[in-house]
């Protein structure tokens, strides 16, 4: 139904008012009666044996209620956190599995591994008491970088994981690729360290555990992307109780970007401790603690090659990588290298290729999905190679891409890595982006910059993403007043689902936008759901919502038939109205809903009330894609890179709300720019100490680090789901990093620079220039 609140409209968000007036409810805003405060004591060593822990002074400190260590966890039989998915679960090679304990015993394997929990009446008391815990560590040699971890004689993170290998992965044809590369006209090569990042959502992870003895029930308030996932891990795997004994509640969550898709020791610790104390236990870290205790993202080292002929046709691609998993392979950690290989072919036809990695353990915190999760690594590598190949044979970077694009007529297209791409029109999106960015007049702008003593470079890239993982369910429930509730299995934590889902429901059922409400994030209110990550919600949640709407329309027909005195087969549902075909007899959905609740009249088989459940199980991913162009200006005296112009044209399939999609693209781009220019999670190579543990040392992108963006759309609906959508959450990040680095290399090429490491800090750029000169 065409309405200003329907699908495709730039509806302003209905969730905004509470945030704009300071009435959001993040975990730290929740305070429960009789609440206590927890502080985590963590390992200061990257690798050490715990000789002894003396908690006696802490236990008798003022206000202290409880001190817990790994031995207590063992005594209570607590489990740990394993893997959501390993390659062998989907037919890949076996891997070395680890279990991350809630509190370590015996040995610690990274700085930040949890060792003890102190709970006191106030946070200050808990912090003071934490200082009194005496832990005697015997430090062991540590291995920090993946390239060091695989060397013979490297310190082992796990006895039994030889050469620190967790699992190897390989796809493609080694012999054919070697042959093609050996005889090629030109072979482009790049060495890449896809640097380690930390997520830093502006709301730190926080948790509150509570226990109700009368009902023998636990409640966990946590800052998560996946409430039912947290429940399954904390109740099922760690505390070994029925999942229904634990209610997980997530109210407003201040950003997640993948980090909060996982489960952390603190989630289980506060629940466990609350049970012991029979009082609520609250844990909210400082930013510095969060940076030590959170998982990290990326950290892939690789050597990549691309062979091309003199016309720029790709003949072969090969890359061999190392993925640094950190000390534990946890939750979806293994998914990152799997996605990196899976998406390595990019948007091109490649006759033969080989991609391989070794996922290895090091004495660093675990790496897990961070916005993009493997797709940024894949796109970064191939888009750097495309530019290097173009330079090598003297071809325009847009032209070489066009010569190798998979064509619109070739979908569904199966890659060498067994991805089946749904749809796309890459050349059209690229052309639109070239047009938008005034590509053809770049030389003029470069000359202008040169006059001012600056080096201008243009970078372009074409990214591809993979979205819409797993299945999910949605419910639609009318109440007796005729208003509608959407009960979502997904979990919005900034994306604006309250608005987009209401648009979908309003559009399909004809219920006024303002009469619809979203319920999410409470395992007692949502019967099941998988949460929001990997840009899955529009594709999977939206499609399930459509199915729920169809179920409602079907159930409503019976009531409408009674009301209109017509047979079901004579009824049609159009624009929010049940109509008797061929007559002007009609009744709106909301009236039918009210009628469904009358206390007497409708027979049993019609049920009481009107509701519908919808499910959607992904059989085919959607593959958002798009072109990015950016221009940088570099001051050769300081090495400072300024992004002067940035353009993106995206194919995100059908659009539910263009305003919100644009917001996802803007935010995504800046995270990608952050990786390209600023952000770097650095651990000392020998000691494993975190060297970038605050906003003073870890440079977050700020408003004056980026320009305004010009974005355009080039939609090709996806056949993978009934809404025709593709997930919009990550493409910006996937595309932006190679675009910026390609621009920098382009700017410095004339000075003899051919590669640039991530992040391209002023110092690094300046050094590259000096070295080349």
């Amino acid at each position: 139904m065409a309405s200003q609140f329907g699908i495709g409209q730039p509806v302003r968000r209905s969730e905004d008012k509470r945030f704009l007036t300071g009435r959001g409810t993040y975990v730290d805003d929740i305070n429960l009666p009789r609440q206590t405060h927890a502080v985590v004591v963590y390992s200061p060593h990257a690798h050490a044996d715990i000789k002894s822990i003396d908690t006696s002074a802490a236990k008798s400190a003022p206000g202290v209620l409880l001190v817990l260590t790994g031995e207590d966890a063992q005594a209570d039989g607590l489990g740990g956190y394993g893997q959501a998915l390993m390659p062998e679960d989907v037919g890949g090679p076996p891997g070395f599995r680890t279990t991350r304990p809630v509190l370590a015993t015996g040995r610690v394997r990274h700085v930040g591994e949890r060792v003890a929990l102190v709970i006191a009446e106030t946070e200050e008391q808990a912090r003071d008491a934490a200082e009194l815990i005496e832990i005697d560590y015997a430090p062991l040699p540590a291995t920090v970088l993946a390239e060091d971890a695989v060397k013979d004689g490297a310190p082992l993170v796990w006895d039994g994981a030889e050469n620190n290998l967790c699992f190897p992965l390989m796809m493609g044809d080694a012999d054919a690729t070697e042959k093609a590369i050996a005889s090629a006209h030109y072979v482009a090569k790049v060495h890449i360290y896809n640097n380690r990042l930390t997520t830093n959502p502006m709301e730190m992870r926080g948790t509150i555990g509570d226990y109700n003895r009368a009902m023998d029930e636990y409640t966990l308030y946590t800052s998560t992307q996946n409430p039912h996932g947290v429940r399954a891990e904390v109740a099922g795997h760690i505390l070994h109780m029925h999942e229904t004994k634990l209610r997980v509640i997530a109210r407003d969550v201040g950003g997640g970007f993948g980090l909060k898709g996982g489960v952390f020791p603190e989630d289980a610790l506060v629940v466990w401790a609350a049970g012991k104390l029979e009082r609520p236990v609250k844990w909210v870290p400082s930013r510095s603690e969060a940076m030590i205790l959170d998982d990290d993202g990326r950290d892939q080292t690789l050597d990549a090659e691309m062979a091309v002929d003199k016309d720029g046709k790709i003949l072969a691609m090969r890359w061999i990588a190392l993925n640094n998993l950190g000390a534990y392979v946890v939750g979806p950690g293994a998914v990152v290298p799997m996605f990196a290989l899976g998406m390595s072919q990019g948007v091109y036809k490649i006759p033969t290729m080989l991609v391989a990695t070794k996922a290895v353990f090091t004495n660093t915190p675990p790496t897990t999905p961070y916005r993009g999760a493997g797709r940024p690594e894949a796109t970064y590598t191939i888009e750097r190679l495309m530019d290097a190949a173009a330079r090598g044979i003297g071809m325009d970077p847009a032209e070489i891409r066009k010569r190798n694009f998979i064509q619109p007529s070739e979908f569904p297209f199966e890659t060498h890595t067994h991805q089946i791409y749904d749809s796309g029109d890459y050349a059209t999106a690229l052309d639109k982006c070239l047009e938008l960015s005034d590509y053809k007049n770049f030389a003029k702008r470069r000359a202008e910059s040169e006059k001012a003593g600056k080096k201008r470079g243009l970078g372009l890239s074409y990214y591809i993403d993979n979205t819409g993982i797993f299945n999910d369910r949605m419910e639609l429930r009318f109440d007796p007043s005729g208003s509608l509730t959407i009960v979502a299995g997904t979990f919005s934590h900034g994306q604006g689902h309250e608005t987009t889902y209401k648009q979908i429901a309003s559009d399909l059922l004809g219920v006024p936008f303002e009469d619809i409400k979203l319920v999410q994030g409470d395992t007692a209110a949502v019967s099941f759901g998988r949460g929001t990550y990997a840009s899955r919600s529009a594709h999977v949640g939206g499609s399930a919502l459509k199915a729920a709407a169809e179920a409602v329309i079907e159930s409503g027909k019976k009531f409408a038939g009674m009301m209109l005195e017509a047979g079901e087969s004579d009824l049609e549902f159009v624009d929010g109205l049940y109509k008797v075909t061929g007559t002007d007899k009609a009744i709106p959905m909301t009236e039918v809903a009210k009628f469904a609740y009358i206390p007497a009249g409708p027979p049993s088989e019609l049920g009481t009330g009107l509701e519908g459940v919808g499910n959607f199980a992904t059989t085919m991913s959607s593959f958002p894609n798009g072109a990015h162009v950016c221009e940088v200006e570099i001051d050769p005296d300081t090495g400072k890179v300024v992004i002067d112009r940035f353009f993106a044209v995206d194919d995100m399939g059908n659009i539910i709300n263009p305003l919100l999609v644009a917001g996802q693209i803007h935010g995504g781009i800046v995270q990608g720019v952050g990786q390209a220019l600023l952000e770097d999670m650095v651990y000392d190579r020998e000691s494993g100490q975190l060297l970038s543990g605050s906003f003073l040392d870890y440079a977050m992108p700020r408003a004056d680090d980026v320009p305004s963006f010009q974005i355009g759309m080039s939609e090709v609906p996806s056949p993978s789901n009934p809404l025709g959508v593709k997930g919009a959450g990550e493409g910006g990040t996937v595309g932006a990093t190679p675009t910026v680095i390609n621009a920098i290399v382009d700017a410095l090429e004339s000075a003899g620079v051919t590669n640039m490491e991530l992040p391209a800090t002023p110092e690094r750029v300046w050094r590259a220039l000096s070295k080349a000169a």
Binding site: M202, A662, Q671, F695, A703
Partner: protein
């Protein structure tokens, strides 16, 4: 413990605080005004920005005791009943928030910027926002919102 009084969002408030209590803690923990957020411990993020005697300040850098006698406005005190402040309205109109966590600090800082310079260029706005981190929006829509609100606030 020192006794302090101040005006917060037009109301007289008082409380006993420890010497080390920060203004943000007083607002959140003593007054229950949880709209002012804490996003860091190095005065880098601006999530805690409020107005003290009409000036935007990071409430994590100020001891509560130092705000004794001050006139403080927090995000909760900005709207006039159901009518949003033009800056709040512009943020809504331009989709300048996603998760909302940085938003109170952004809005309070933005109003401070417009007060200091009601004729800001895009560059001025970006420069002015140096002390506020947003992880979600990429700043694009925040900048647009502030430029729009600047016009409306001047009108």
């Amino acid at each position: 413990m020192p006794q302090i009084r101040m005006t917060v969002n037009g109301k007289e408030v008082s409380g006993e605080v420890e010497g080390r209590t920060l203004l943000v803690q007083f607002l959140r923990d003593h007054l229950g005004l949880t709209g002012t957020h804490v996003g860091c411990d190095t005065t880098q993020c601006g999530a805690c920005t409020v107005h003290v005697n009409g000036r935007a300040m990071k409430s994590c850098t100020l001891l509560a005791a130092h705000a004794d006698g001050a006139d403080v406005t927090t995000i909760e005190g900005l709207a006039d009943g159901d009518t949003l402040h033009p800056m709040q309205e512009a943020f809504r109109e331009h989709h300048a928030l996603q998760c909302g966590f940085c938003t109170p600090g952004m809005v309070m800082s933005a109003i401070g910027l417009v007060k200091d310079n009601p004729k800001m260029s895009e560059k001025d706005v970006r420069h002015g926002l140096e002390g506020n981190i947003c992880r979600c929006t990429g700043y694009h829509n925040i900048v647009e919102a502030i430029l729009d609100a600047q016009t409306k606030m001047g009108a």
